[in-house]
């Protein structure tokens, strides 16, 4: 009997042990974080790039990458990190890292390491307008993985409102470049995209907390994004039929011009002006009439008492 009693007590405890998070980090990661979780500030590398020293251990652990160890991405820092960062790196990653060295001067290998797990996505990005801008044109102010997703240390699931690419935050994230005057000018980007989205039904509903409303990537694609002039773009010409049709079943050619990022043309502009004129003149009439009538009622009550029946 005591044996059974022991089981009753021990079984839940055992279960609890299983359910408790296993010691969070591997030994190796823990030793990196021992310093880097308490370090603050940035360091300038020999090449002049700024290295962010701090890694928030708690946020890292909660992120989708919390199970990885530092060296899974920071491959060159395998053993004695800061003296000889030169551990063996797979040649594919080295080749990629070279292409990324302009954009990610601090640790291009780590930036290229994403492909280790996200190869399919990474290939799409490289072929996209964003990827080509980085790889072929060697631009440093264009978007790459972390510009949209934030630091890989803290990435959360896309459904999480804290994610920079979630429905709640995505428009603002894209807007950091697509609403930036300098970048719009430099890359000849379509103007007015942020304003027109904000004004549109989609933008308004998003702001009011609608949970199914489309945001940027819903129509323009995400990793394999192209310019709107590329025939492969989901918003190029008749491709819109299919793109709008994802939500609006049966979308036809007369329906798809409903949403654009263009500024409204002259007809809507003057229609609005005419309606505002009508609005103001009606207001003026009814307000003047109501006030005058009220005053005349007061006047009659005081000075013309009993005159009317």
């Amino acid at each position: 009997m005591p044996y059974k009693k022991f089981l009753i007590v021990a079984a839940p405890l055992l279960l609890l042990v299983i359910m408790l998070p296993a010691s969070a980090f591997s030994k190796e990661t823990a030793s990196c974080l021992a310093c880097h979780s308490s370090m603050k500030g940035r360091l300038k590398s020999a090449a002049g790039a700024l290295i962010e020293l701090n890694v928030d251990a708690d946020r890292f652990q909660q992120s989708v990458h919390g199970g990885l160890s530092c060296t899974d991405c920071h491959m060159r820092f395998a053993d004695n990190p800061h003296a000889t960062p030169g551990a063996a790196v797979p040649p594919a990653v080295v080749a990629l890292a070279q292409k990324l060295s302009a954009k990610h001067a601090v640790d291009p290998v780590a930036a290229a390491a994403c492909t280790g797990c996200h190869e399919e996505t990474f290939t799409k990005v490289l072929a996209s307008v964003h990827g080509k801008n980085i790889i072929e044109k060697k631009q440093t102010d264009g978007a790459f993985c972390i510009d949209c997703h934030g630091s890989p240390h803290y990435i959360v699931k896309v459904k999480d409102p804290r994610s920079l690419v979630s429905r709640e935050q995505q428009v603002e994230t894209c807007g950091r470049c697509h609403g930036d005057k300098k970048l719009i000018e430099k890359y000849q980007l379509q103007e007015n995209v942020m304003e027109s989205f904000k004004e549109s039904f989609h933008g308004r509903k998003l702001h009011l907390g609608h949970t199914k409303v489309p945001v940027c990537a819903s129509c323009h694609n995400a990793h394999d994004i192209t310019t709107k002039n590329d025939p492969a773009s989901p918003v190029f010409g008749k491709n819109k039929l299919q793109t709008c049709g994802k939500c609006h079943k049966g979308a036809n050619e007369k329906f798809i011009p409903a949403i654009t990022h263009q500024k409204p043309g002259p007809i809507p502009h003057y229609t609005e002006k005419a309606l505002i004129l009508l609005l103001l003149s009606t207001f003026a009439f009814i307000i003047i009439h109501v006030l005058l009538e009220a005053f005349s009622d007061i006047r009659d009550a005081i000075f013309r008492k009993g005159r009317e029946e």
Binding site: R204, H207, H210, N252, K254, I259, I267, P268, T271, D297
Partner: protein, 251 residues
């Protein structure tokens, strides 16, 4: 009018029916849906109001999805209410219950413009006489036709925006580049006009005016006392009770 003058004086009832039960129900459906549409639509029109007040307001209506559903259901109900009204009018004309008379018609006439001028003269103290109305004063005609205007502008654009793919089938190709923008401007601007109109015009005339405050009860009872009728709709009163009206004039 065609009544031959009989020696027996006409019996004057205490009150007469102004709006029958069908009209009263139509009015209740109209203002219920109007309020629902205004409340939910306002949140969308001013979605970007500061401090997120619009999102808070929309949460009161069950969130963006639910508020949208309420708005659509109320909108369709209002359109059906309006159609019912028009059909009922046609029916009343067909059975001869509504006949043409300049004193009872709701259709605006040149006299209404003169009435407005007359009343403004009175307001400014330039005339000692207020305008004399038939069954419907210019204020009431204005109120009535505002709904028609609203139905035409807000109703059609609202229907188009609620069922855009369906509506797009009826849109001429050459307008598709701007029609959607125009539709949403029409809907939103005229809705604002309708709300302010109701708030000032209708609320003042039927609620806040000292003589009707807190409200004119005709919307529930449908009845108007002959006293009020004589006072506010003298031309209709003369039409209904010619003998009494004549007597009063003489006396």
């Amino acid at each position: 009018m065609s009544q031959t003058t009989t020696s027996t004086t006409q019996e004057i009832p205490k009150e007469i029916e102004r709006f029958d039960i069908i009209f009263r129900i139509q009015h209740v459906v109209m203002f219920t849906t109007f309020l629902l549409l205004s409340f939910t639509g306002w949140g969308l029109k001013y979605a970007h109001a500061p401090q997120g007040v619009a999102s808070m307001w929309i949460r009161v209506w069950g969130g963006a999805e639910t508020a949208g559903l309420i708005h659509r259901i109320a909108g369709v109900t209002m359109l059906l209410d309006f159609i019912t009204h028009v059909i009922y009018l046609v029916y009343l004309i067909a059975i001869g219950k509504i006949t043409w008379n300049t004193r009872t018609t709701v259709i605006p006439l040149p006299k209404d413009v003169m009435d407005v001028v007359q009343n403004f003269l009175y307001f400014f103290g330039l005339s000692k006489e207020k305008a004399k109305f038939g069954k419907f004063s210019y204020a009431q005609k204005f109120d009535y036709w505002a709904v028609f205007w609203g139905m035409f502008i807000i109703g059609t654009s609202g229907f188009a925006l609620a069922f855009p793919v369906f509506f797009s089938n009826f849109v001429p190709q050459f307008t598709s580049g701007w029609i959607w923008e125009v539709l949403s401007i029409m809907h939103s601007d005229e809705a604002l006009l309708a709300i302010v109109f109701i708030l000032f015009w209708h609320f003042y005339n039927e609620h806040l005016k000292p003589e009707v405050f807190p409200m004119s009860w005709i919307w529930i009872t449908g009845k108007i006392s002959t006293d009020t009728l004589k006072h506010h709709h003298p031309l209709e009163y003369e039409l209904l009770f010619p003998d009494d009206a004549k007597k009063n004039k003489k006396g």
